[in-house]
Assembly symmetry: C3
Homo-oligomer: 266 residues x 3
C-alpha cells in the first residue's frame, strides 16, 4: 500500500463545521505548500461539533472523487487536548487510493471504510505542521498543512507511526423483522429529507408503510407523489430516505438526527 | 452552430437549490471525467424547488462568463419522473458560445435566451451518464456527467436529438401607462432588495414614485439616500430594483417573489 | 516597491457581504480577463454593510496566502456615491507582496497593515474597468475587473495616482490595569465565540477571570472545559477570545460586536 502513497495528488477536499471564513485560512496554507492544488469544498455547514453528521457527509461524498484525492475533514470539539491527529490511506480496486486527514474522533472512519481497506497513521512529524501551531485551530496549522504536503507526494508513512487503536464510529444496523423495520436517523439534509441507516436490497415500489400512524408509499423519486405527500425512497446515497414531495419530512414526522425510525408494513 | 460545440471548454458553472453537500458529489463526478475543469459555483442557495428564482439567477449571471463555458443548473422537483433532461447551445457574437445542461422545466430558458440564439437537445445518450443513475439525483448522475463530457470537447449533438417542444419560462412584461407601472417581483436577493420584471429605458434620476402609499425616489445607487430610506434604482442586472439604503426592502414593502408591484407616478 | 507589482499573480481571493449569487458574476469577469486565475472565497457572509467585521475577517485571513496574491474585498454601502475605489500594495519580508482592491472606506486597511508597509492608489484608470459600470455593483464592474488585470501583471501604479488621505480604520486598543482589562468585541464568529481587541503577551493558563459576574478560566483550548462551561483563550487569530465549550459564548454573555468587555481578575 505504502508505495502508492507517493505521487502527485492534486485534488484536496475540505469538510468542516466552520461555516464561514476559517476554511479560507486553510486554503491559504494549502496553496503556499502546493500552489497547484485543486481545492474542493465538500461542506463547511456540518452541524457544529457533530462528528456523526460530518462522518456521514464525508462517507457519502468521497467515493465520487478521483483516485489520489486527499480529504481533509475537521469537526473537532477536542482540538488542543490529548486527542490525536490521524492520516488514513484507503484503497480499493474500483475507487482507487484516497487519503484522509483529520482528528482521531471517528470522523474519518466510515468514509475510509466506504473506499476499501485502510491503514491509520498518527500525525506526529512536526516538519509537516505550520511553524506556530495554535491550540484551537489544528484544521489550519496541522491538518491543512499535512494534507497539502501529502498532495505534493509525501508518503503517508512519513507523517508518523501506524496505529490500530484509533477511535471507531459507525451508523449501526437496522433491525428488519417480518412486520417492521427499526432503524435510526443518521442525517437530516437541507431539504428536510430524513436519511436513515436502513439498507434495503429488494425494494417493492408501490408498497405502503406506516411511521407513527402516518401512511407512506415506496416510490422511485419525489415527483411520483402529490405535493406535500410523504414517501419512502432509496436516496442517492444508497440509504432508505423518508421525504415529503416539495416539503420537509423532518418537520412532517418530527424527527431529528439520532431518533428511532419504526417502519410498519401495512 | 454545431461545429462550434467541439473544443476545450474548461469552465463549468453550477447552480442548484441543494444548499449544502450534494454539489460536492457533482464536482467529484466532473473531476473524474475532466480533471482540468475549472468549477465555479453560481449559487446553491436557490429557494428550494423554485425554478423561477433559479432561472432568474442563472440569467443574470452567465453573461459574465467567457465563451465556451458549460453551465449546469439543477432546480429539479420532477427528478426521476418523465421530465426530460436537456442540453442547450446558445450563441451570440458579443457573448460567444455557452452550453446549458439541466432539467426540461424552464430553468435554462431565460439564460439561454439572454446569450442569443439557441438550440435544445434531449439528453438520451446513456454513454455520457454515470453507470448507475439514481432516481433522485440526476444532478450528479446525468447533468454533471454530461456537462463534464461536453467540457472535454464532446459535441452537444452527441447527447441526443434536437427538440422543439421544451418547457418555456419567462418573467412577463410590465405594463407601463401614463400614470403607473404594473410589474411583478421576480426575485428577492439576500439584501432584501426587490428585483422586478420592469425594464426602463429612459429613467429620470430624482423622480418620485409611490408604492402602496409610500413615497420613494429614483436614485443612481443606495448611498444617495439616508439610511433606512427607500429608493428605486436600475439594479446591476438591468432590471428596476426597489431597495432600502442599509435596510431590507422586502420587509419594508412586505413583498415576496410573484407579488405585484404598482408604481404610481407622483 | 513598484517594480514588484509586475508579474504573474494568480491567486485572487474574494470577500464580501453578498451572501449569495453576486460573487459568481465577479468570478466570470475575472476569468474572462485572466482564465488562469485561481479564485478563493474568503467569505461572502460578512454581516451586511458591516465594514468593521469585513476588515477583521480580511485581516485575520490574508496572511496565510502566498506572496503575490490579489485580495478583492467588497463591503460597500457607499457604492455609486463619491467614495473612491482604491488599490493597495503591501509588503513585508516574511509575508511577501499582497495587493488589495476595494472601496475606500477602511475595509482594506487593517489587512494591509497586518502584511507590512503599504502604499494606496486611487482606482481611476477606466481602461481597467468593465465597459458599462453599473452604479450599484462596483464589485463586479470595477474591483473584480481591476483585480483580474493586476493578477495578469499590470502594475498597481497603472490604476491611478497614489493617495494619502484614504479612510482609516482600526480595532482600538484594550486598557489593561492592575485589576481589570477593558476591551471591545470586534467579531462574533459562527460558533458564537467572542473575539476581542485584547492582545495579551504573558498569559497564565489556569488563571480565573470574571465577566459580568460570571467566572471563567484561561485555557489552552475549548476541550479543556466541561461542555457548556465558559473559557478564555488566545484564539487562532492571536486575539483574546471568549468561548463556551460546545456552546455559544455570544448568547451566554449576551455580547455583540462593538460591546465593551470588562475582564476582572479574581
Amino acid at each position: 500500500l505504502r508505495k502508492h502513497c507517493k505521487g502527485d495528488r492534486m485534488i484536496i477536499t475540505l469538510l468542516s463545521d466552520f461555516q464561514d471564513f476559517y476554511p479560507a485560512s486553510m486554503k491559504g496554507v494549502i496553496l503556499r505548500i502546493n500552489p497547484d492544488a485543486k481545492i474542493i469544498d465538500i461542506s463547511h455547514n456540518i452541524p457544529k461539533h457533530n462528528v456523526f453528521a460530518g462522518a456521514f457527509v464525508l462517507m457519502t461524498t468521497v467515493k465520487y472523487f478521483p483516485s489520489r484525492s486527499v480529504h481533509i475533514a475537521v469537526v473537532d470539539p477536542g482540538v488542543g487536548t490529548e486527542r490525536r491527529g490521524i492520516g488514513i490511506m484507503s484503497h480499493s480496486k474500483s475507487l482507487g487510493f484516497h487519503v484522509f486527514i483529520g482528528p482521531d474522533n471517528g470522523l474519518l472512519i466510515p468514509a475510509s471504510k466506504s473506499i476499501g481497506e485502510f491503514e491509520v497513521y498518527e500525525l506526529t512529524n512536526k516538519n509537516l505542521f505550520q511553524k506556530n501551531v495554535s491550540d484551537s485551530f489544528h484544521g489550519r496549522d496541522i491538518f491543512a498543512s499535512v494534507g497539502a504536503y501529502i498532495s505534493t507526494g509525501i508518503s503517508l508513512s512519513d507523517v508518523g507511526r501506524q496505529i490500530f487503536d484509533y477511535v471507531k464510529l459507525d451508523f449501526g444496523k437496522a433491525k428488519i423483522t417480518e412486520n417492521l423495520i427499526i432503524g435510526k436517523v443518521i442525517f437530516i439534509d437541507s431539504f428536510g429529507n430524513i436519511i436513515t441507516n436502513i439498507k434495503l436490497e429488494n425494494v417493492k415500489i408501490g408498497k405502503t408503510y406506516e411511521i407513527d400512524g402516518k401512511k407512506l408509499v415506496f416510490q422511485k423519486s419525489y415527483g411520483f407523489c402529490d405535493k406535500g405527500e410523504p414517501l419512502i425512497l432509496i436516496g442517492s446515497h444508497g440509504y432508505l430516505e423518508i421525504a415529503v414531495n416539495n416539503g420537509n419530512a423532518s418537520e412532517f414526522f418530527n424527527k431529528k438526527q439520532g431518533d428511532d425510525i419504526v417502519l410498519n408494513f401495512v
